[in-house]
Symmetry: C2
Subunit: 182 residues, 2 copies
DNA sequence: GTCTATACTAAGATAGAC
DNA sequence: GTCTATCTTAGTATAGAC
């Protein structure tokens, strides 16, 4: 099962997340295509297992961080890890963060894993002063925009993501200033 | 030809840009599927025509704007129009701004149209003070992030895009402050 | 759990008549 | 330019033996 998922990720890296075929996957793991149905009830079942697997890896990565006590630095540390995780595997990033597969919706159990990571991020941002939902929304959309531009236009490089810390400061400072003005 | 493209956009709105089939498209325009090959040499030819068509519509929209003389307000006006254009048709937005179709690359002529719109945006941003490439990159990535979050999580609403003007001010102010500190 | 064999569906593309 | 007919490829899924 673990090896099947590993091979599926390999195929996704080469052909895109939508480019996985059960024939090709079976061939990579040394099986025949119908045998995969002993592990997944359908192709979407495979995607759901991958969705859960990817989110588990993300959570592992995030749990393993030793976050600085300063809340602003904690945000930077956390986001740097998140962005690194995202750009290191564009196909995985697409499955976890976008909706690239028409007809596929993660199961509730798998989706719950994704919610955990998001709530971790939200908690840190609130601790750093982003108290309103709108501020959190904007910050997360900004990070997603950086990731997307980076993967699309400069894969493997850092033309966009190198500005992450500066933009984080900008958002946190702006929020603080607006609070002080009230 | 114009009606074929219109029907193609309609299908894209319903099934997604990757969900267009030549059979379905032919049925919508009252033809048989092979007849479409009188208009396009392949399915990618259809996508290329749609890509060019979408960019032409975007340029029309942008040319029709009466931009304020103040450079900051000009940016806001321009970006509001761009964002409105993007969110009003997610499938078109995906074709023009992302790379949702494995194997499809726009032709050089079609791509040139897309470059025109981008250079308009860049010129306005520079006039408003975003003099470095990194600042322009970050601003455009931020706008794309807003659009993407809006379409994905709140289609038809304004939860993300309503912050556009505020974020524009934040970016322009931040750039100005950093320049003054030098 | 794994296999062979096959059903089923759908798509893009081509040949050649009109 | 449009048609009928067909080719070719490719995919998911199922039946049933071992």
């Amino acid at each position: 099962m673990a090896t099947i998922l590993d091979e599926a990720w390999k195929l996704a890296r080469v052909n895109g997340i939508g480019g996985i075929s059960l024939h090709a996957l079976a061939r990579e793991v040394g099986m025949r295509q119908p045998s995969l149905y002993a592990y997944f009830d359908s192709k979407n079942g495979l995607y759901d297992a991958m969705f859960a697997d990817g989110n588990r890896r993300l959570l592992e990565r995030l749990e393993g961080l030793e976050l600085p006590s300063d809340s602003r630095n904690a945000v930077k540390c956390f986001m740097a890890a998140f962005v690194a995780f995202a750009v290191e595997d564009p196909a995985r990033c697409a499955l976890l963060l976008q909706r690239p597969l028409p007809g596929f919706e993660p199961s509730i159990e798998s989706y719950a894993l994704a919610q955990v990571a998001l709530s971790r991020a939200t908690a840190l941002l609130q601790a750093a002063g982003l108290d309103s939902q709108g501020d959190v929304d904007c910050f997360i959309a900004m990070v997603a925009g950086l990731i997307d531009a980076q993967i699309s236009n400069d894969p493997g490089g850092d033309r966009w993501i190198r500005h992450l810390d500066r933009l984080t400061d900008m958002h946190l400072d702006d929020t603080r200033q607006r609070r002080e003005q009230r």
